[in-house]
C-alpha cells in the first residue's frame, strides 16, 4: 500500500534488536514490548501526555502507525483489524479528551468480545487527581466496559503489563484491555527486561476440559430430538471453530441458524443453513427456534435482538448452551445442559460421538419447505434503486468473497440478509452496542490487516457522517477500501420504527444538509461515484472495483424502504411482520 509502510524485517532480526537489555525510556519499553507481542499495526493519535511515546516512534519502522483523524476512527480501526485477524487490535490516544474519545469504541469491542489493547496517556503521576490539564480518570470511566485495565506506576512494570494485557485480551471470553500510562512513566528510564514467560494470573484460568457427562447428555438429547435446531453465534468465529461446526452439522443433520455476529461461521450455501434469527431474522429460522424441541446454542449469548420476548422464546425446547463464558449459561434463558468451554474444544469432543438426528426427518422437510415458501424477498423496482438489490449486486460481483464491514441501521440488516457469507472473519459489524460511525473506520482496520483482500464498507448516509474524516487516511495511505453509501436521505431504521411503532410520527430523522458524498470524497482526494438507477449502479460499482485505490460509491435508494421481516420490540419472534413483497 503506502510508501510510508514499515519495512518488515524477519522476526529474528527484530528480536535481536529489541531484546538488548538497554536502559531505555518507558516509551521505548512500550514499543519493544508491543513488537514482542507480534504487533504490526497500531492506530493512534498523539497529544501532550503521549508525546514521549510518539517521540520514541519518530523514524520508527518496525510496525505501522496509522494516524487517524479522530480517536474514534483509531479505535474502530483497531477493532476492525482484530475482527478480521483474530489478533488483538492496538490503539494509542492521549489523556483526557483523547482517552474519552475512545470510550464508544471500547464499549463496542466489549459488547462484541473483541480483543483490543488500548493504550492511553495520562498526566504525570504528581498531577493525577489535581484536575490537571487534559486529565481524566480513564481507568475509572472505562471500568464497566473493559475486561481489565492497568494504571502503570513504574516503567519497570511495563513489559509484564503489556504481556498480561495481550494475554487477557485474547484468551477466554475476549475483550478490550486498557493500559493507562502517566507521562512521567513514559519518560522514566529503566533497564528493559522483556517479559517472555507464559502469563500466569491467579484466579484467571483457561477453561477446563469440557464436561464429558454433559457432552454425553447432549449426544443423547440429539438422538431423542424430533425438532432440533442449532443457534450459532460469534463464539464460533472467535474460537476458529467454523470447520468443527460444519462437521457437527454434517454429522447430525441439524438445521442451523447463525446470529448477526455468527454470520460467516457457517457456509450460507449449505442446505441446512436457515439464515439469521431474531428481530430481522428469516421466517424459517425464527419458526424453527420457536417450534424446536431441542435448541443447541453454540457461542451465542441469547441477546434480546435474537430472543425478543423472553417468556415466549423457544418454550418447548430443551436448551443446550455451549459458551466460553460460564456467566452466559443460564443468564437469559434457562439451560438444561450447560457446557463451559472453548467452542472448538467442545465441538471437537462432541464430533467424536455425534450421530445423525434420526427422528428429525419430518422436521427437516418442514424447514426446507419454509425456506422455499418464505425466502427473504423484496419488491424490486426498475425506476428507483432498491437497497436490497444493491447488496445483492455487491455480493454477486465480489463472489461473496469480500470482507464486508457495515455501520448500523437498515443497510446493516440488508447487508446481513442479502450478502451471503461463506468464510469466517469476512463480516465486521457492531452487534451488541450498535455503534453508528463504526463501519467505515473498521473497514480501514480490516484492510490494514489484509492488504490483498477486497474490503467493502457498507454505510448509511447517517453513520458515514460520524467518521467520514477518515477518508483522509485512505487517500494518503492509499488504503483501497470500497466505501458504499446507501443513501435514503433519512435515519432509516429510526424512520422505520417511527412508521411502524410510533404511528408515522416522523420526528427529527431528515438528514437534509448532508454533503454531496461524491464531492466529499473528492475533497479528500478519493474517487467518488453516484448512482440513482440500476444501470448507473452497476457501472459505478464496476468503476469503483477497477479503481486501484479507495473509492466511494453513493447509491441513492428509495427513501421509504423498510427492513423485513421484522419483529417489534416486546413481541415474540414468531410475531413476524413479513412486509409487502
Amino acid at each position: 500500500m503506502s510508501s510510508g509502510q514499515a519495512t518488515m524485517r524477519s522476526k529474528e532480526e527484530l528480536r535481536e534488536k529489541w531484546m538488548k537489555p538497554d536502559v531505555i525510556t518507558g516509551s521505548e519499553i512500550l514499543l519493544r514490548s508491543l513488537l514482542l507481542e507480534g504487533v504490526d499495526c497500531v492506530f493512534g493519535y498523539p497529544g501532550g501526555a503521549v508525546l514521549f511515546i510518539y517521540d520514541a516512534m519518530h523514524g520508527f519502522t518496525d510496525f505501522n502507525h496509522l494516524l487517524t483523524r479522530h480517536e474514534q476512527g483509531a479505535i474502530h480501526a483497531a477493532d476492525g483489524y482484530a475482527r478480521a485477524t483474530g489478533k488483538p487490535g492496538v490503539c494509542i490516544a492521549t489523556s483526557g479528551p483523547g482517552a474519552t474519545n475512545l470510550v464508544t469504541g471500547i464499549a463496542t469491542a466489549y459488547m462484541d468480545s473483541v480483543p483490543l489493547v488500548v493504550i492511553t496517556g495520562n498526566v504525570a503521576q504528581q498531577f493525577i487527581g489535581t484536575d490537571a490539564f487534559q486529565e481524566a480518570d480513564i481507568t475509572g470511566i472505562t471500568m464497566p466496559i473493559t475486561k481489565h485495565s492497568y494504571l502503570v506506576r513504574d516503567a519497570a512494570d511495563l513489559p509484564r503489563i503489556i504481556h498480561e494485557a495481550f494475554h487477557i485480551a485474547n484468551t477466554g471470553r475476549k475483550g478490550p484491555v486498557l493500559i493507562d500510562i502517566p507521562k512521567d512513566v513514559s519518560a522514566q528510564k529503566t533497564t528493559f527486561v522483556p517479559a517472555l514467560e507464559p502469563v500466569v494470573i491467579r484466579g484467571y484460568d483457561a477453561p477446563a476440559e469440557p464436561n464429558g457427562e454433559a457432552i454425553t447428555a447432549m449426544i443423547q438429547a440429539i438422538q431423542e430430538a424430533e425438532r432440533p435446531v442449532i443457534l450459532a453465534g460469534g463464539g464460533v468465529v472467535y474460537s476458529g471453530a467454523h470447520n468443527e461446526l460444519l462437521e457437527f452439522v454434517t454429522k447430525t443433520n441439524i438445521p442451523v441458524t447463525t446470529t448477526l455476529l455468527g454470520l460467516g461461521g457457517f457456509p450460507s450455501g449449505n442446505e441446512l443453513w436457515m439464515g439469521m434469527p431474531g428481530m430481522h431474522g428469516t421466517y424459517t429460522a425464527n419458526m424453527a427456534i420457536q417450534n424446536s424441541d431441542l435448541l443447541i446454542n453454540i457461542g451465542a449469548r441469547f441477546d434480546d435482538r435474537v430472543t425478543m420476548k423472553l417468556e415466549a422464546f423457544a418454550q418447548q425446547a430443551k436448551v443446550i448452551h455451549i459458551d466460553i463464558d460460564p456467566a452466559e449459561i443460564g443468564k437469559n434463558v434457562p439451560t438444561d445442559i450447560g457446557i463451559h468451554g472453548d467452542i472448538k474444544v467442545v465441538l471437537t469432543a462432541v464430533n467424536q460421538a455425534a450421530k445423525p438426528a434420526t427422528k428429525a426427518e419430518a422436521w427437516r422437510s418442514l424447514i426446507q419447505a419454509n425456506k422455499r415458501d418464505y425466502p427473504l424477498s423484496y419488491e424490486d423496482s426498475e425506476v428507483e434503486l432498491k437497497p436490497q438489490w444493491v447488496i445483492e449486486m455487491i455480493h454477486e460481483t465480489t463472489n461473496g468473497e469480500a470482507i464486508v464491514s457495515t455501520d448500523v441501521g437498515q443497510h446493516q440488516m440488508w447487508a446481513a440478509q442479502y450478502y451471503k457469507f461463506n468464510q469466517p472473519r469476512s463480516w465486521i459489524t457492531s452487534g451488541g452496542l450498535g455503534t453508528m460511525g463504526f463501519g467505515f473506520p473498521s473497514a480501514i482496520g480490516a484492510q490494514m490487516a489484509h492488504p490483498e483482500r477486497l474490503v467493502v464498507s457498507i454505510n448509511g448516509d447517517g453513520g458515514m457522517q460520524m467518521c467520514a474524516q477518515e477518508l483522509a487516511i485512505c487517500a494518503i495511505n492509499n488504503i483501497p477500501v470500497k466505501v458504499v453509501i446507501i443513501n435514503n436521505q433519512v435515519l432509516g431504521m429510526v424512520r422505520q420504527w417511527q412508521e411502524i411503532i410510533y404511528d408515522n410520527r416522523y420526528s427529527h430523522i431528515d438528514l437534509a444538509g448532508s454533503p454531496d458524498f461524491v464531492k466529499l470524497a473528492e475533497a479528500y482526494g478519493v474517487k467518488g461515484f453516484r448512482a440513482t438507477n440500476k444501470e448507473e449502479a452497476s457501472r459505478a460499482w464496476q468503476e469503483a472495483l477497477n479503481t486501484p485505490g479507495p473509492a466511494v460509491v453513493e447509491f441513492v435508494v428509495r427513501k421509504g424502504e423498510n427492513v423485513f421481516p421484522m419483529v417489534k420490540a416486546g413481541d415474540s419472534i414468531s410475531q413476524m411482520i413479513m412486509g409487502d413483497a
Binding site: T139, G140, M143, P144, K147, H148, L151, I168, R173, I201, R202, G203, Y204, D325, P326, A327, G330, K331
Partner: protein, 161 residues
C-alpha cells in the same frame, strides 16, 4: 429473595473495590453492606458483601465476579455455619444522671463504653447485625448524636477454609 453473605478474595490492587462495587451497581445487584480489609495472605484482601437475592441472581453474581481479573475466589459463606460480626460506634446523649441506665444496657449487650464526654458517651458494640440493630434501638430514646457501623465481616466456622 434471601439474604446472602459472600466472601470475595481479591488482589490487593488500587481500584479493586471500585471494580467489585461497580459490577454490583451496573448489573443491578443489591449491596446491603460491603467490608474490605487484609486477608490471611499478603497481597490479597477479603471482601465481605451482604446482599439480598434469589438463587439465579446469586449464581450470576458469583459468575460475574469471577470474570473480574482481580477476583480470585468467591464463596457464599451463608450456605455454611458461619460467624458474622459487625462493629458499631454509637455516640449517645448521656447526662450524668442517665449514665447508670445506659451502662446497664451496655453491660447486658456485652458492649463497651469507649469514651465519655460531659454530655455524651461513646459505646462500642460488636456482634451480628441483629444485635447491633437491637442495641441501636435501645439507645435511640437517649438521643443518638452520631452512629457509625462497619458492615459485616464473616467467616465459616470450624476447619473448613
Amino acid at each position: 429473595m434471601r439474604k446472602h453473605t459472600i466472601a470475595v478474595i481479591v488482589n490487593d490492587q488500587p481500584g479493586v473495590l471500585q471494580r467489585v462495587s461497580g459490577l454490583f451497581g451496573r448489573r443491578g445487584f443489591n449491596i446491603e453492606s460491603i467490608t474490605v480489609g487484609q486477608s490471611e495472605e499478603k497481597g490479597l484482601s477479603r471482601m465481605v458483601i451482604v446482599t439480598t437475592s434469589d438463587d439465579k441472581m446469586l449464581d450470576q453474581m458469583s459468575k460475574q465476579l469471577y470474570k473480574l481479573i482481580d477476583v480470585i475466589k468467591v464463596d457464599d459463606i451463608s450456605s455454611n455455619p458461619m460467624v458474622a460480626r459487625e462493629l458499631a460506634l454509637i455516640k449517645v446523649t448521656a447526662l450524668p444522671e442517665r449514665r447508670p441506665e445506659i451502662m446497664g444496657i451496655v453491660d447486658t449487650f456485652r458492649a463497651a463504653v469507649v469514651d465519655i464526654g460531659t454530655e455524651s458517651m461513646m459505646v462500642q458494640a460488636v456482634g451480628d447485625t441483629d444485635k447491633i440493630d437491637a442495641m441501636i434501638e435501645l439507645m435511640q430514646p437517649y438521643g443518638i448524636v452520631e452512629l457509625s457501623r462497619t458492615g459485616v465481616t464473616a467467616m465459616v466456622r470450624g476447619n473448613i477454609k
